[in-house]
Homo-oligomer: 369 residues x 2
């Protein structure tokens, strides 16, 4: 198992001493928020960069993942001398509420001592952001040097910038969107139905049984995983090559490498992720529509922002294609805010923001200054 | 329920009196092939057009579907005075082997009197074509005026033209491909895993229980259905509109119209299609690689063909995008065969070949002459 180079990180918990009021009208009593920090907060507390993670990500940006033992998900971007330089910046990443990696979510115990399960309230991207704000408050950080997020992380970044405009001076949004499209919702709905179709889901009350809806969650992950990759990337990586065999078997084993790869992606995901969290977080993403929250006009969302922005899309990303970033850029233009936008060429589809794209490193480093 | 205008059709069965030798090395003892004809075969038997159906299609091109009562799947294209004019042509469509609409498939009884289930041999597109040839033989048709197919029907058309070159004088291929890509295989594998994950699948032995893996099949259909539509088409048709409600429910009901639509598509599919047939037919499509069958060079597949060809793609089809049709066109060019190719603009994605695209009607009518 690969390990990260030793970069000092702190993994901490924030236990809120008040309820978190949610967009759906309910409140979450005294939630816990797990977060990681790396680097040193200066005396002026003005060198903090907050990173928002994606759907199945977590706050282990740099530290090894506690379940898989794999290096943090963004070690290539974050660390001493890296584009997000922890020698200069104090980097924070908080696990979103609703998740299963330390922050309160459906697998957490509710006040009655039993896991929340599907009694957990439906949350929104803005609710996740309220959790992030609580972390900033606890750390005494009034204004971030920058806010950075890819995919669902980009949605949080846009939501925070719109709803808490005084809390950040720069916003970097990678491979993201200001609203979930019908196709985005459709793929998520397939995943949710796959989970809910699994009898082991038991209406979400599977925690006492030791085993959750692993088959359903695996199918959900397989379907989603296809959307993270490009058609050309899949062709290059797998094509029609067979998996450890010379001939097709004329059966239903994983003859093709792509089948074997997808099955592995699905199964390994079930070791590290909670199925109910997957339901809640995909729901939050589907509900996300920043314009709708602001009177139907996206530019209105940024009316009080004074931050500078950078939007990055990838030419092979068909999940949140370039047009989505362009829409956000136009809204920021309309709001009179300084904004850079670049479409980068990379073969990896949506996942490009996580992978080895040197041009992205230069954009991130350049924008953070 | 809509009904077709009364167009006289004949629905017949051909019971082969010999085994069908399959590409996988097994044989299928005396299979039955269900087919529909429309129009009149002339004395010279040279006015026949054979239509090949798609994955979940069947031979009810013009006649009402026996299970759903809906009009035949291509009544807009086939009939008296239609682009495929049954006043002039004798139109034939045969249900592919492996299917569940009359031709022998996994739900049929095997020689031991029990349903085949997963004992049914894995079939290929070429095996389906052998069934079509048996129908042509039975009807005494040496050479078709034309062979027409969209999607998986196009694969059959290409395979028939390549493997039985003397049997057709023209080949019209719509929204299809000469080989399944890694992404195509990936989506099918998600569907198969969804079916196989359903405990009601019972390793394929569900026929005695009255109820099959309906939830799994429904999820498979939902995932596939997304690939049949375009992102822009979904946005135009559904956008983020809510289903019969003013506000989001902050729950997991089908708040969005696209969710409701997909759930309906999934559920209604289970009323008319056999889950094991879905496994076998998707497998046949994934195995399809016409170049591989012919020494790795697609042009070789058409070495003995003397037919004229027409390839049609749709600009919003991301399942079998235009590049796939272009690849076939180039191979036909290399084989020195007369070929037309056109990319049509239509908003419906892959399903465009089934829908109201007047430009397609003109291409079909023009090519058939």
């Amino acid at each position: 198992m690969a390990t990260s180079p030793t970069i000092p990180t702190e993994n901490r918990f924030l236990d809120l001493d008040m309820p978190l009021m949610l967009d759906g009208g309910q409140s979450l009593a005294c939630p816990r928020i797990a977060y990681e920090t790396c680097g040193t907060l200066n005396a002026a507390k003005d060198n903090a960069i907050f990173i928002c993670h994606a759907l199945t990500g977590d706050h282990h940006v740099v530290s090894d993942h506690p379940k898989t033992g794999k290096p943090g998900w963004w070690v290539r971007m974050v660390g001493p001398g890296k584009p997000i330089d922890t020698d200069r910046y104090f980097v924070i990443c908080a696990n979103v509420i609703g998740s299963c990696m330390g922050s309160t979510g459906p697998a957490s115990l509710s006040p009655d001592g039993e896991p929340w399960g599907m009694r957990f309230p439906v949350i929104t991207i803005r609710d996740m952001v309220k959790g992030h704000i609580a972390v900033l408050d606890a750390l005494g950080i009034d204004s971030l040097h920058a806010l950075v997020g890819g995919s669902m992380g980009g949605m949080q970044a846009l939501s925070l910038a719109a709803n808490f405009p005084e809390r950040t001076r720069a916003v970097l949004v990678l491979a993201s969107t200001a609203r979930h499209s019908a196709q985005n919702i459709a793929f998520h709905e397939v995943g949710r139905q796959a989970i809910m179709a699994d009898p082991a889901w038991r209406d979400g009350n599977y925690y006492a049984f030791g085993k959750g809806p692993e088959k359903g969650l695996s199918v959900a992950r397989m379907a989603a995983h296809i959307t993270y990759l490009s058609e050309a990337g899949l062709t290059e990586k797998f094509g029609r090559r067979l998996q450890n065999r010379e001939e097709k078997t004329f059966g239903f084993d994983a003859d093709f490498q792509i089948e074997s790869y997808l099955r592995y992606q699905g199964l390994s995901f079930t070791d590290r992720f909670d199925a109910n969290s997957y339901l809640y977080i995909t729901r939050a993403m589907d509900y996300f529509d920043l314009a709708e929250e602001h009177g139907g006009l996206l530019a209105n969302a940024f009316a009080k922002s004074k931050a500078r922005y950078c939007l990055v899309s990838f030419d092979t990303d068909w999940l949140y294609p370039t047009a989505e970033s362009r829409t956000v850029t136009h809204a920021l233009n309309a709001a009179g805010l300084p904004v850079s936008f670049v479409e980068l060429s990379a073969p990896y589809g949506h996942d490009s923001f996580l992978l080895d794209v040197p041009a992205l490193d230069r954009v991130v480093e350049g924008f953070l200054g």
